[in-house]
Symmetry: C3
Subunit: 207 residues, 3 copies
């Protein structure tokens, strides 16, 4: 029950970030909703496709979609306010990312996947929505350009896989994984941590 509520918070944060970018890209009402909904539920759909859960839960049942749609509509109407609380959206997004990484890993293990697939599919669940969002609006995914984002997601899903492997109750993994992923992400935002970029190329030789 608590997990469901937390999951909705994650969807709200992701959908809000997607809808806000849609507004900034001058999309129409429907486009804003499509980008918002895709960002909010896209990670879960890809997780279900990879795990063979047909049809994907977010397409088969109402709650996730409704939450993402309502969030997108609110952003469309109230986006100037959203800009002012952008820092709060980033924190929500960090929390949503941590939670999706942990629940994605848990679902992968429950579907009979290996520990590796729990790590990778959990992290994919957490980052895929944002990648789809950026590709839809024709930008190089933020994930690839800067920001320590996917590393915290991998940390969260790995914690879940390790806790599960050690025989402890799965709920502990869910909590610790979410806290670890969210915490590292917030730290990275706060301290402006970034991973290194390769040295500049000696010449602009063509590919």
């Amino acid at each position: 029950m608590l997990v469901d509520v937390l999951g909705f918070v994650g969807i709200v944060a992701f959908a809000a970030s997607g809808a806000l970018i849609g507004v900034r890209k001058r999309l129409d009402l429907f486009g804003v909703c499509v980008v918002g909904i895709t960002t909010g539920i896209g990670g879960g759909i890809i997780r279900d496709v990879l795990l063979g859960i047909h049809p994907p839960t977010s397409l088969d049942q109402w709650p996730n979609l409704t939450v993402a749609l309502v969030t997108s509509l609110i952003v469309f109407l109230a986006h100037p306010v959203m800009n002012r609380i952008w820092r709060g959206v980033l924190l929500l997004d960090a929390f949503g990312m941590g939670l999706f990484a942990s629940t994605g890993a848990t679902i992968a293990l429950a579907s009979g996947g290996s520990s590796l697939s729990a790590c990778l599919i959990g992290a994919t669940t957490a980052v895929a929505g944002g990648v789809i969002r950026d590709m839809l609006v024709n930008e190089v995914p933020l994930l690839l350009r800067r920001d320590l984002y996917a590393v915290p997601a991998l940390l969260g899903s790995t914690v879940v896989a390790v806790v599960e492997g050690s025989g402890l109750p799965g709920d502990i993994g869910l909590v610790v994984g979410t806290v670890a992923a969210t915490g590292l992400r917030v730290l990275a935002l706060w301290r402006r941590w970034n991973l290194p970029i390769a040295r500049r190329l000696p010449a602009a030789d063509e590919l």
Copy 2:
């Protein structure tokens, strides 16, 4: 039988729109065929992946692929003519969209999906080909920028789900859904209907 023929008409329209954009983007013969084929059969492939139909029908059997390929070749050779009949292509495309939305919803229901999944997967079938087309040629999907396109698709698939839920024969849903979706799309094209865009942002603050 009739449904099959109509399905081919839809694939022809979608493949033609994809191949025509490929020509305009100066792609080579193969690239034009790839964009044309992907636009023509991509929606059905994504539908099958979401529903767990392996391998997807359009990859497993000849007819759909052949129709899309021949259409792409004809466009490659005869594209100046296609430009002149662009309005006709748009009408065909509207009809293809309506038909794909309705058949997609029907197939989702037949695979045991919920009414919601019929609405969403039907509409996805109808619009996914065009989204893939636009992403392949590196444009923000037309779907997101302007044009009332996905709303008619949702209308068509919803009609199918409602008719099925009410116990009427599925063929009625297929016909009414296709007519409703195609009609709304043609109306939107004719009257140049568009959905609203959010008010301009007060400042170009960065993300």
Copy 3:
């Protein structure tokens, strides 16, 4: 056993091409690894999704991922050297493409797919990694713009399907398909073969 080793060579070549483009696009360490890994194992993941193999092998077991990750790290550190051996990378890439086309077709047949699905899914396995790579870094896929690339992939997978259909041992198809695809690709690179582009449009009429 030999097939496994050859498969790793293909992953090395694909991951190297992806990571090198990531470096050129000024991505950070993680972005370079993500593009490298996605290019190296993306084709196989899409193949498994299309065939209903859940979770995809490359996400479920260590070897493929490890090979792609180590390759990406080496490219990140040593990319100036990679630029000098770019011609060698292209040859490796041609070989990887041929091998992926043949093994993809073999796996599709083993999963109960038709000959057509073996041709198409084999070729998809060979080219999908590169398409994902180009879309991630926001370029029109190289595949669509120039270079005879997908035609050799189709040749390789078709050879496998024909050999299998004729009742000969599958290993022969694997070898002949790989050699045919790689050979045609190398020939195309060497002779700078390209497919034709449609005549220039008479006017810049809008879509």
